[in-house]
Symmetry: C2
Subunit: 157 residues, 2 copies
């Protein structure tokens, strides 16, 4: 099993991402849910990331602004449907494509001392899903994974 | 075109419901979004419906409890991802099947003096979607539609 697995079945409106981290679940959960740590791992390193709001609780809202070297801004936002121990379900919308919302469910399981994170994201249409895949999402997922692993190492020093 | 149309394509994880109401859009919007009116039309008439919370605004939460004649309770809840003029996007979860969340987008358009309401609901899996269809959802949609039409007539008297 690879450490990062991205499955986007043809004709479906879903993406399932599985990631395995060689770290305790509590720490992986902390990194995922701490607004101060998010800019260190979320998305490509070349983007500057500001967390304007990230209220990780049931009914909370979140809003993240990313900026590229040319100053272009990319705004992502949504609400947390629920937050339970080691799992969150939230909505997400990118302001560049308004009214195309997705629903992301994350679950963390312990597995032989490692942590398996499953991300199940559903889109409002197959076209929305395919659009996301075509942005080069896989590279983005891999880069985020690498940054996350680096951060875990730093925090475990 | 029929006044109520339910499309659940095989193999997809989506249901699209279209309803046409012979009433102005402002009134249809009011009925859809008024917590005091919801018990008069949402779901089967045989259930007693209590709106515990229904804060129809971006980031708001909602929680509705239905009770059958035997006293069994059915709790539905979620958050509003966004609310704009004549459209809402929200999450929904039934407590009887926890961790199976759906994302419902409603849009209202004016059409020859009538109002067309499109409900696009996506599920986290094809199985979840099929499960919903098998509950006899179509009858439920038709009954809600009939109750909604009755209520519109009352309000227009």
């Amino acid at each position: 099993m690879s450490n990062v697995d991205v499955v986007a079945e043809s004709g479906k409106q879903m993406i399932v991402i599985t990631q395995i981290f060689d770290a305790p679940r509590d720490l992986v959960w902390k990194v995922y849910t701490d607004p101060k740590l998010l800019p260190k791992w979320w998305g490509p390193k070349m983007l500057k990331t500001d967390v304007e709001r990230m209220d990780v609780k049931t009914g909370g809202s979140w809003r993240v602004v990313q900026q590229d070297p040319e100053g272009n801004k990319y705004v992502f936002h949504g609400v947390y449907h629920d937050v339970k121990p080691y799992q969150t379900t939230r909505t997400m919308e990118w302001d560049g494509m308004p009214d195309h919302v997705l629903l992301e469910a994350i679950k963390m399981e312990e597995m032989d001392g490692k942590t398996k994170v499953t991300n199940n994201t559903v889109f409002q249409s197959v076209e929305d899903r395919d659009g996301m895949v075509e942005t080069g999402m896989k590279d983005g997922v891999n880069e985020s994974y690498d940054r996350f692993v680096e951060l875990l190492k730093e925090l475990q020093k």
